[in-house]
Symmetry: C2
Subunit: 154 residues, 2 copies
């Protein structure tokens, strides 16, 4: 619903690309869609946080600290996420060969399987919606996705 309306879509020409106006509309749209994505995916084996960590580990072993930095969470939060993943057998731990303080985390075969499965499930709702759009609108969303990635990358 139009959170910051009643001025939604109204106003003078070019207003939509005014940084403040655009930011407000974009924030509303993103927060709303993200909430929807969260609730639609609630039956999953892994939570959103666990999922992204699993995806990171698919690309190679990482320490807890590296993962925390990439995910922009504090160390204890990552400890919790990793603990949940190891409890499910989706991630394995190994003491770093050179530095005994560090623990190298790796994805397990089970983890790879869950990741593939979750990937489809998590986007099922959005896929259905997106499939109803025409090619032009899908192209807009594709470009927006890349822009948002860059915006929020830091």
């Amino acid at each position: 619903m139009d959170i910051d309306a009643p001025d939604w879509r109204s106003g003078w020409p070019g207003e939509a690309t005014q940084p403040d106006v655009l930011a407000r509309e974009l924030r509303t749209a993103i927060m709303r869609t993200s909430r929807r994505l969260r609730t639609e995916a609630s039956g999953d084996v892994v939570s959103p946080g666990q999922y992204t960590v699993l995806a990171q580990l698919r690309r190679g072993s990482r320490t807890s600290r590296e993962l925390a930095e990439r995910e922009r969470v504090q160390a204890p939060s990552m400890t919790r996420i990793v603990k949940a993943l190891t409890a499910k057998g989706l991630v394995s731990r190994a003491v770093h060969p050179q530095d005994g303080r560090q623990i190298l985390l790796s994805i397990t075969p089970d983890g790879e399987g869950i990741l593939e499965e979750a990937k489809g499930q998590r986007t099922a709702w959005l896929s259905r919606r997106v499939a109803l759009l025409d090619e032009e609108d899908r192209l807009v969303l594709s470009r927006a996705a890349h822009l948002l990635q860059e915006l929020s990358a830091e």
Copy 2:
């Protein structure tokens, strides 16, 4: 970071608008940006949930149930949000004149003030980022915002 990469941006022409591929990229971008928006706004007087309820009430009085349905949360969650807002003096309560079970919620002058203030603060980070883009990219994001609104509207 590119959650579902390493295949980010790679692939055959037109792949980006394949519903499944697009949905995956879009989901990643949206979840990441939403987390960033939440953490950047952490110093606010009102939480994201409280903010959107306040915005709803600016457009007229509503009952708790109406608000819960619009926000897609369960009744107890809305009770909690409304309780927080009334405790801060941003929302007032009045028994419905016709139906004694219902309680009409309205935004107070203080609430209107906080809403205006929060509106700017919450989008400040995104505004700064968006301002760095060129007109064409901003137009893409504007159109994407409207598409996302429609997608997640139900």
